[in-house]
Amino acid sequence: MPVVLARIDDRLVHGQVSVGWSRYLRAQRLLVVSDAAARDPSACALMEMGTPEGLAFECLPVSRAARRYADLDRGPDRTIVLGESPSIYLALAAAGAPVREVNLGGLHPPTGGLRLADGVAASPKEIEDLRALLACGIRIEVRPVPAGPAEDLEEILARLAGPGSAPA
C-alpha cells in the first residue's frame, strides 16, 4: 500500500493522529520524520507509547527518511508519515520521496502567523515553504481531523489574498 497520509503536524503523535487519523485510515505504520525527535530517545519512546497497539512505529532524521518513504510507499503497510513543518516535505521531495499530496493538519507558530484553519496557522517562512511544495505539483489539503472540514490550501491562499484578486 502507498503512504495513505503525509501530514504536517507540529505536535507529531497526538490524539488527532494516534486516535483519529490512524484509526480512520486503518493505518498499520507510523513514520515520524524529525531531526529533533530522532536525536532524543525519550521523545521517540513517548511517541511510540502514544501509538495504538498494532501500529508499527519508527522515527527517522530527515537525512534518512526519503529513502524509507519511497520504500514504504511500495511496501505492504498502510503508512502515515508525520513531519513537524512544511520544510520537512520539501527536503523529502527534493531527496526523491514520492510525495504526491500533503495533509496540513496542525501548525502553531509561536508568533501567531497567518491563520489558515482551526489549529492551523503558518509563519511567513512556512507559507513560503508551502508555496514551494505547491509549485512542485504537490497538492495540499488543510484538514486537521478526519471528519472535519477540508479545504485546498491554494483556495485558502487565494481567498486570503483578498476578494477579487486573481490567484497567483
Binding site: G15, V19, Y24, A45, M49, V145, P146, A147
Partner: protein, 149 residues
Amino acid sequence: MNGAPPSPRPPGLLLVSHGEHAESALKSARMILGEIEGAEAVGLPTDGSLEDLAGAVERALDRIGPDRPILVLVDLFGGSCANVAVRLLPKRPLRIVAGLNLAMVVEFALRRSYGDIDSLVEKVLEAGRRAVIDVNARVAGKVPPPSTA
C-alpha cells in the same frame, strides 16, 4: 440512486453527566475526529431536578431519532444520570453504559458503522477499560526520573 434501499442509519449516541462533563467530552471527541453525526449531550445542572433531566434526555433521544439504535453513555453507575436512563428502559430500547470517558466516545464514533449495536457496545466497553492506565508504570525506564536538586 434509484430503487436502492436506504442504508440503515448508524447507531446514535447520547452522553449524560453531572454538570458539563458530557457536553465537554463530545466537544473533545470532535476536536480529535471532527463532526459526529447523531450525537447529543445532556448535563444535570447543580440545581436541576430529575424531572428536568429526564425531559432533556427524552428530547435529546428524539433529536437523535427513533429509526436507529442508541447508546446512552452515562458518567456514574448509581448516579442520577444513570438512574434517569434506566427508568427509560421500559419505554425505549436503549443500550446504557456507565463510566463515560473520552476513549469510549472516540471508539463509538470510529466503530459505529461496522457491525451491530451489541458488538459496538462491547468495543466501547473494552476501549473504556483499556484507556485507564497507570502512566508512571507504563513509562518507567523510558523517561528519566526527576533530578533531585
